[in-house]
Amino acid sequence: MKIHTRKFGEIEIDEQDILFMPQGLAGFSEYKRFVLIQEPETDPLCWFQSVEEPNLSLVIMDPLIFKQDYTIDGASVIREMKWENISENELLIYVVVNIFASQNSDRKITANLAGPLVINPENHQAIQVIVPNPDYSCQYDILTPETPESEELAKSG
């Protein structure tokens, strides 16, 4: 089927790839159907595009690329969503990304670790969960990790 997007114009998607969000996204609860768009030019960033609203398209990425110890309580998500026949480690987890660029070459990319998207690839449902963990910032700086030294140590050790 064809869908309209502000960023990519009209695109063709496979209906089977549509992800249903029973509760919608925070701030956009009226939109329930999304597709994940991956483009080679923007990899590792991808797009969480609303099927219904062309203007709604979040930038998301896999948090494990920049934070290897990122975890959420997948079991409670499975329980809350009443998902069956899926285990915690089969869930796909993405975080919402923001980009701040200014003329004076300050570059900043942040990820919202407190509001990840959890996708069930088995039944094509998704939810944005809220993780009230004080260590998980809504604007975690991806380009300058808080503890680069310890990560280096962990790698070399």
Binding site: A26, G27, T42, L45, L58, V97, N112, L143
Partner: protein, 80 residues
């Protein structure tokens, strides 16, 4: 909005399954206890507000900004 005045240790019943209790007051801080079923999601309003804001801002990004950011990310993480 419904406005109720409650004293310390008094409660509010919301529907069948949710009870909100005022546990204590200390100058401008109120300590609240909430009893609710496990599947009711409860969090500080500010956190939800910020997650909404991050969603809204992320959705405003242009393809060029994201392509540029992807370049930065690739550079940053290939150096490690």
């Amino acid at each position: 909005m419904l406005v109720l005045t409650r004293k310390v240790e008094e409660k509010i019943q919301i529907g069948e399954q949710i009870v909100v209790s005022v546990l204590g007051i200390d100058s401008s801080t109120v300590k609240i206890g909430i009893e609710a079923p496990k599947d009711v999601r409860i969090f500080r309003w500010e956190l939800y507000e910020q997650i909404q804001m991050e969603n809204r801002e992320s959705s405003k990004k242009q393809v060029e900004d994201v392509t540029q950011a992807a370049e930065w990310l690739k550079k940053h993480y290939s150096r490690k």
